[in-house]
């Protein structure tokens, strides 16, 4: 009897022991279906294919995932304008999307990405559309801005910021594209082509330094697939027009080939203290119309960017700048004092480490005698700003001047003989060529001698370079990057472990070798490997491609799978 009782008790205990893990780890709700956005295959095949691959891998985690590929103009509605439940332009807030940032010279300073991509103040309307909100990170993003004198101290802050973002996995970076450009080296000296860190060979330094070795090379002919929209020194009208405006309008400083701002139209830039900087212009500079460039022009270039009126909209009074694109880059300027014909002093509102890169090397110098009447006229109108202005032949002081342009077709620039850095070539032409095959044909046939952009398969370029002796391929790691952005406001992406698990489903090496044909570098941060100085940090956490690793991570955090293999949240 007692033996029987003991046996029953033992049996009961065993059953209890067996049952315990089950009851302590009850299964939570099933993870709901996920939509991953990207642009369409026709628009950018590389981004589409990458997304398709990752979506398939995510399904291996037991997730129901839909890949929604839509045109860019529509994607903006479903991502940018669909951040929260209350404000979604689409039927619900976005969850995860493929996204990319492109490289631009002024992005050589890490400030723009460090602050604008993640600071909580730009969560509702700005570029922090993923909704990241971390007070500790905000403090770092603010601190790196005011660390003016001590570059190393700023580096420490930038490194810490990168660590936090990589740990929190709010954006899953996977590649920095290698921007491929093809140059006809039968007409240009290849040694005279400059690679700018993070930008590539199609940069300002190449345009002024490239040496023709044949008559055809005296005119550099390139093309763009996008229309040119406008050439206005106070408007940012897209990638191609921006690259043209930086050739035709000088700036006080320019980002040099290794990514550091150096004096350009300014002979010297001297910081008196963290709030005051004295800039002295080079002597003898001319506008394209023959007038002298003086310090009041330089001052006016900033005043024009700051000009605006108070306007009342829907009962709310707010400041309406006349140059909304450039206002943010000038808004830290509290006062400009003209010292003499060539010198002026800027006084800032707050110390800013990025002032040289994002203001002095960003704002175009504009002739006061042309722009003052235009801006004064705009100030009297409520519904117009500088975006409505297009000079017939724009006047700048840059090393190239406008001969003619048609925004739908071409821009034709000539070297400005009176410039102290006169280019080696005589003319620079950019044609609008929306047909990619025609672009390929023209570079091979010699109708074009510098292939500027190639949105298609990079392998195609490698092939034509192999087949044509007169062509050479140049490539450089971009400041830009491709990544998957998660809406961290809502489940399941509000859980850092879940995001990390998704990061493990991205086959980085496979994507680089097969989709980019090797023309990409692995990315793990918003600071590109091209910006070597800002990457002197301790190693960032890695997320190797491993479905098993992802599953183990989820399991460790209490996620589980049902009989049909579908992923469930942790219970309780």
């Amino acid at each position: 009897m007692s033996r029987k009782l003991v046996s029953i008790a033992l049996l009961a205990l065993m059953m209890l022991a067996l049952a315990l893990p089950v009851t302590s780890q009850t299964m939570g709700e099933m993870v709901p279906p996920i939509i991953v956005h990207s642009v369409t295959q026709a628009e950018r095949p590389i981004e589409y294919e990458t997304t398709r691959l990752v979506v398939e891998n995510m399904r291996e985690l037991g997730l129901e995932v839909e890949h929604r590929a839509i045109p860019w103009a529509q994607l903006i509605d479903e991502i940018w304008y669909s951040r929260t439940v209350d404000s979604a332009a689409a039927d619900r807030p976005f969850q995860m999307t493929h996204w990319r940032m492109v490289g631009r010279p002024e992005r050589s300073d890490p400030d723009e990405f460090t602050y604008n991509l993640f600071h909580s103040s730009v969560r509702d309307g700005g570029y922090n559309f993923i909704g990241y909100n971390n007070p500790a990170y905000d403090a770092l993003a603010e601190a790196q801005r005011v660390e003016v004198g001590d570059r190393e101290a700023r580096l420490d802050i930038i490194c810490e910021a990168q660590q936090i973002i990589r740990n929190d996995m709010v954006n899953a970076y996977f590649i920095h594209p290698l921007t491929p450009q093809v140059v006809n080296t039968a007409v240009f000296n290849p040694d005279s082509i400059t690679t700018q860190a993070g930008i590539g060979v199609h940069n300002f330094w190449t345009w002024i330094g490239i040496e023709p070795t044949a008559e055809e090379g005296k005119t550099l002919i390139t093309s763009t697939t996008s229309f040119l929209n406008s050439f206005n020194p106070l408007e940012i009208a897209g990638d191609a027009p921006s690259r043209v405006t930086e050739m035709t309008w000088d700036r006080l400083m320019r980002i040099n080939p290794i990514g550091v701002p150096e004096p350009w139209a300014a002979e010297s830039v001297v910081w008196e203290d963290p709030l005051n900087v004295v800039v002295t212009l080079r002597a003898g500079m001319k506008w394209h119309d023959g007038e002298d460039v003086q310090s009041d022009d330089a001052a006016y270039s900033f005043e024009a960017a700051l000009a605006g009126t108070m306007q009342t909209k829907e009962g709310e009074e707010r400041f309406q700048p006349e140059a909304p694109d450039y206002y943010p880059f000038a808004s830290n300027v509290a006062n400009i004092e003209i010292i003499d014909d060539l010198s002026l002093r800027f006084t800032l509102n707050t110390p800013s480490a990025a002032f040289e890169t994002s203001s002095l090397a960003k704002l175009n110098l504009i002739p006061k005698h042309i722009w003052e009447p235009i801006i004064n006229d705009l100030l009297t109108q409520d519904d117009a700003d500088v975006d409505s202005i297009q000079e017939e032949i724009p006047i700048g002081s840059g090393p190239f001047k406008y001969v003619a342009f048609d925004v739908n077709e071409f821009v034709f620039l000539e070297a400005f003989d009176d410039h102290w850095a006169r280019p080696q070539i005589d003319a620079w032409i950019m044609n609008v060529l929306p047909n990619q095959e025609a672009t390929l044909g023209q570079i091979q046939a010699g109708e074009m001698n510098f292939l500027w952009e190639w949105p298609g398969d990079p392998g195609v370029l490698q092939n034509i370079v192999e087949e044509n002796e007169h062509l050479d391929l140049f490539s450089a790691i971009s400041i830009g990057f491709n990544y998957f952005a998660f809406n961290v406001r809502y489940a399941p992406f509000d859980d850092v472990t879940f995001r990390q698990a998704v990061a493990h489903t991205i086959p980085q090496e496979f994507i680089i070798d097969n989709i980019f044909n090797g023309l990409a570098a692995p990315a793990d941060s918003f600071v590109s490997a091209a910006l070597e100085y800002w990457r002197q940090c301790e190693d960032l956490p890695t997320y190797d491609f491993s479905i098993e690793g992802a599953r183990a991570l989820l399991e460790g955090a209490g996620y589980s799978w049902d009989d049909e293999g579908r992923l469930h949240y942790p219970g309780n």
Partner: protein, 336 residues
């Protein structure tokens, strides 16, 4: 012109206006209900809510839909197609005004070539009915009619522009020459312009010549069976004279109608050719405007194309009433 015909023309005119109004309304709604955002090209890391509000206000997109519609209609009546979203300081009319002549030159030249070849080819094929020449010719025509235009265009580009380097591949002229053209007349007088037009014209004409050729051929075959043709032959006229003077003149009427309508449809239908040859015309701008969700520009381009098509239909109707007395008579019967 009798009263019937006048009523008929007035009726057709009012009908055309109604059709345009419906098209305009559909265009307005389609673009605003389409899931794309006109601010897409402005999104940048430094893009703020303030900029967004300013842009929406500048484009008038902050107003209620009904108000936008009324403003749109009133402006249209004043022939004001608005400002584009994506080009600074340019109105829709500026952009389309620059594009339209290029599209018209390309279309008219191609149509003339296509109809000249088509009509003559149709006559020859009817005359040589049953021969190997006719069989090969018809097959070739059907092939060019069925082949995608972009494919034909790319083939011609590959050989004539890139391999043999005989002809330029894109645009209407190199910028070094183009910037000297101050007027349309300078452009038309420039051999460079016509050289650039050869490949796109040929591609478009290859596609367009099928309709007049097949139409002419079948009309000719029909006419050749008529008694008056037989009479002409019996009268001893030469076969050539019978074909051209007697048969072809009668067989050509439907072809002329097709040409009138063809002008309208071709002007709007050059999208593919203009893209392949980077020809700065209406079709290329239209694609661009839709991609960028530039509502005013896209609406303006569609509107212009619709006006041309409706107008050419109207002309075709009038031609009918003038050429065929029965049309006017039936109209008079209806109104009396």
């Amino acid at each position: 012109m009798n009263r019937g015909v006048a009523y008929y023309i007035l009726g057709r005119f009012l009908q055309s206006v109604m059709v345009l109004w419906i098209i305009v309304t559909l265009l307005f709604l389609l673009f605003r209900l389409a899931p794309s955002n006109p601010l897409a090209s402005y999104i940048d890391t430094t893009f703020t809510k303030q900029q967004e509000a300013a842009l929406l206000a500048r484009f008038g997109l902050d107003k209620p839909l009904g108000e936008q519609y009324i403003i749109y209609l009133v402006n249209l009546l004043k022939l004001d197609l608005g400002d584009t979203f994506s080009y600074s300081g340019k109105t829709v009319l500026d952009i389309l005004g620059a594009d339209l002549p290029n599209t018209i030159y390309l279309t008219l030249t191609s149509l003339l070539l296509a109809y000249a070849v088509g009509v003559l080819g149709g006559i020859v094929m009817a005359a040589m009915r049953g021969s190997a020449f006719e069989r090969i010719g018809t097959t070739f025509t059907l092939m060019t009619r069925a082949a995608p235009q972009f494919w034909v265009g790319m083939l011609l580009l590959t050989f004539f522009a890139f391999q043999w380097k005989l002809l330029p591949s894109s645009g209407i002229g190199p910028p070094m020459v183009r910037y000297r053209w101050e007027t349309e007349w300078d452009k038309l007088m420039s051999p460079v312009f016509w050289r650039h037009m050869i490949l796109p014209t040929f591609t478009l004409a290859l596609y367009l010549h099928g309709l007049p050729l097949l139409l002419m051929r079948s009309n000719m075959l029909e006419v050749l069976d008529q008694d008056y043709v037989t009479m002409s032959r019996l009268a001893g006229y030469s076969e050539w004279r019978v074909m051209i003077q007697t048969a072809a003149r009668n067989a050509m009427l439907p072809v002329l109608t097709a040409l009138t309508l063809g002008i309208g449809y071709s002007i709007g239908g050059n999208v593919v050719i203009e893209h392949v040859f980077s020809w700065p015309g209406l079709g290329r701008t239209l694609v661009r405007a839709v991609q960028q969700a530039d509502y005013p520009l896209a609406q303006g381009a569609f509107f212009l194309i619709a006006v041309i098509i409706v107008f050419m239909n109207f002309i075709a109707d009038i031609l009918y009433s003038l050429l065929d007395p029965r049309v006017g008579a039936s109209a008079q019967a209806q109104v009396s």
